[in-house]
Amino acid sequence: MIKRLTLLLLLAGIGSLFAGLVLTYVPDETLNLTASYYAERTAEDLGAANIVTAIIVTYRGLDTLGEVTVLFLTAAIVGLVLARGKETAGKPQRQLPPPGELLTTGTRLLLPLILLFGAYVFSHGHLTPGGGFQGGAILASAMLLLLLSNPARRFSHRLITLVESTAGISFVFIGILGILLAGGFLDNRILPTGTFGELFSAGAIPLIYTLVGLKVGAEFSSMLVSLSETEEL
């Protein structure tokens, strides 16, 4: 009973904090210091149409690097956790019901479309909403569809981790190129910023976001594959 009481007390405290924040919140009329800088300078400096992508990839590129590492870590640790399981448990393989007819043909039809859409999303990150993470998630959903349609299917871990690592290394390499060629780490002006609105514009942003998309897609699928491999433990 005391545990429930302390919990309610804690929540009451946090709730009053939030209430305080909401009551004193007054929305700005104009963009503040940093937002106005981004609004004016993104178009000429980086040549990216989607300001949010410009912020994510270049201005706050270190955050994105950290974020991609978060996913890399999660995939590595999930692999570590479930790999530990492999040596210990040896339960008999569970007989799985065969996938339905609809699912297999559907997968064969949808798979290329999903992959194409994913590729579109992360390659046009700097022009339209969407980008590396969303494109990567779509690629992972394509992988998911494959898994659902044929659970016993084995994926080569080698390929997935290879894709993931090459994408990661080239992302860091582009960052370092930023120091050598352009203003600083992760600066996107190592490539010409091209004409505004074109596919090949905004310097290295599309390149970085493609790599991020591949990496995120690979990481999510490696997580799914690790989880699915617990099937026949």
Partner: protein, 118 residues
Amino acid sequence: MALIAMITGFLLILIGLYGALSNRNILRMIVAFSVANTGVNMVLVAVGYMKGRTAPILDEAVPAAEAASRIIDPVPQALVLTAIVIGVGVTALMLAYAYKLYEKKGSLDISEHTELKW
């Protein structure tokens, strides 16, 4: 509009925290945490919203010249994107832990795993 979203977000956080800390089943705790994460994301976006302005994408409708007066604050959106992915990362890690805890102890009840005392 921003206030509605912010209040919903805070409510979600409180519900999520209540669910996470009062439940005994590990999976329910993780579900509650993912609800709380969605709540936080909603608050983050709500803070960046400005009345009567559009999304920070420059195209024909919002030319670069008058961008400063037409778009909302892009920075919270960049932060939210990172926060969502980090939230998913931590949730996936917790699920892996939950699976291992279940495999080791055969039950999903958190109270059985408290061998370590104060």
